[in-house]
């Protein structure tokens, strides 16, 4: 079969096609397609936002870990939230409370290695006595928990 014969046959077959006006349908389809894409994108975004709290690293109890830094992250110095004004009970053993630079025991701030709740209520201090952890709301302040950030020490109020 010669190529010219094949070409002429193809042109004859193609001439049977009936052109139909498709511009309006194409434009409507384009609008519909764009809307469908927008809806799909919005649905995906909503699904991601809904699932985001469950995707964040939690404390192992199904609750998201909000605002608590990881144990290996150093705590940057900054303003410390005010300590509750409840009277602080006396320390159990002498020497477990180190003098602070500000002279008040209420300005202590837990250091990074112990500031994440672990579920354990107690920890050992250097004296060998069992003292409540600083993050559990206990009254005994261990030496490691008395570090005061420079911004607090330089505060004109204290």
């Amino acid at each position: 079969m010669s190529q010219d014969v094949l070409r002429s046959i193809l042109h004859d077959i193609a001439a049977e096609a009936v052109p139909t006006p498709l511009a309006d349908q194409a434009l409507r389809g384009a609008v519909r397609r764009r809307r469908a894409k927008a809806w799909a994108g919005a649905a995906v975004a909503a699904a991601v936002l809904a699932a985001a709290p469950f995707l964040l690293p939690g404390d192992g109890q199904g609750r998201p870990d909000r605002g608590v830094p990881a144990s290996n992250v150093s705590v940057a110095p900054g303003p410390v939230p005010p300590v509750p004004s409840s009277p602080e009970p006396p320390a159990r053993t002498a020497g477990t409370t180190a003098p602070t630079s500000t002279g008040t025991a209420a300005t202590h701030r837990p250091t990074a290695p112990t500031n994440k709740p672990t579920g354990k209520a107690t920890s050992l201090d250097p004296t060998g006595t069992v003292a409540p952890s600083a993050t559990t709301g206990g009254s005994t302040v261990s030496p490691s928990a008395t570090t005061v950030p420079p911004s607090i020490g330089a505060s004109p109020q204290r």
Partner: protein, 175 residues
């Protein structure tokens, strides 16, 4: 889409629909599938009209048509559907033929339908649109070697499916 782009698109569709429809008709083999194919390609092009220059619009539409035809054929192959259009075959017998005998034309038409979509696309691009192998490769995203092999397979299958074409080939001697 702003009014200017929409107006240009309408003018383009009005001017180029007959040519695009002929290509789609050859690719699909029947009027309904050709309309669907061209409609889908135009819809995709209209949705991307902001990023396509109006001068490249026809090339883009043709590219979409060829790619979509291959994908559509893949979907149909998975669904085990066979494109048939018996009414068009009946109509063909009444169409006058100016270049080849009606019998040969019907034979080529039926054989084209039985070709895989890739081979049919290559035949249309090579012998209907008269594109060189390099442009066909660029259009379909294949290598030139793939275009050559697909063309060879298509012509071999045309001859094998239609022995009359092989006899015609022996007479003409160039294929």
């Amino acid at each position: 889409m702003d009014d200017g782009a929409e107006r240009l698109f309408r003018e383009f569709v009005a001017a180029r629909t007959p040519a695009l429809m002929r290509t789609a008709y050859l690719l699909t083999g029947n009027q309904h599938d050709a309309e669907d194919l061209l409609q889908s390609a135009l819809t995709k092009s209209a949705a991307r009209l902001r990023s396509i220059r109006i001068l490249d619009l026809e090339a883009y539409v043709r590219r979409v048509m060829y790619h979509q035809q291959v994908d559509r054929w893949r979907v149909r192959f998975r669904r085990r559907e066979t494109p048939t259009d018996p009414q068009a075959d009946l109509l063909d017998t009444a169409v006058a033929d100016s270049s080849a005998s009606t019998e040969t034309r019907l034979l080529v038409r039926a054989t084209l339908r039985r070709l895989p979509a890739k081979q049919r696309a290559v035949v249309v691009l090579r012998y209907f649109e008269d594109l060189p192998e390099g442009e066909i490769a660029a259009m379909l995203g294949w290598s030139v070697g793939t275009v050559r092999s697909q063309t060879h397979k298509a012509m071999t299958k045309l001859r094998s499916l239609a022995p009359e074409l092989a006899a015609l080939s022996a007479v003409s001697g160039d294929m």
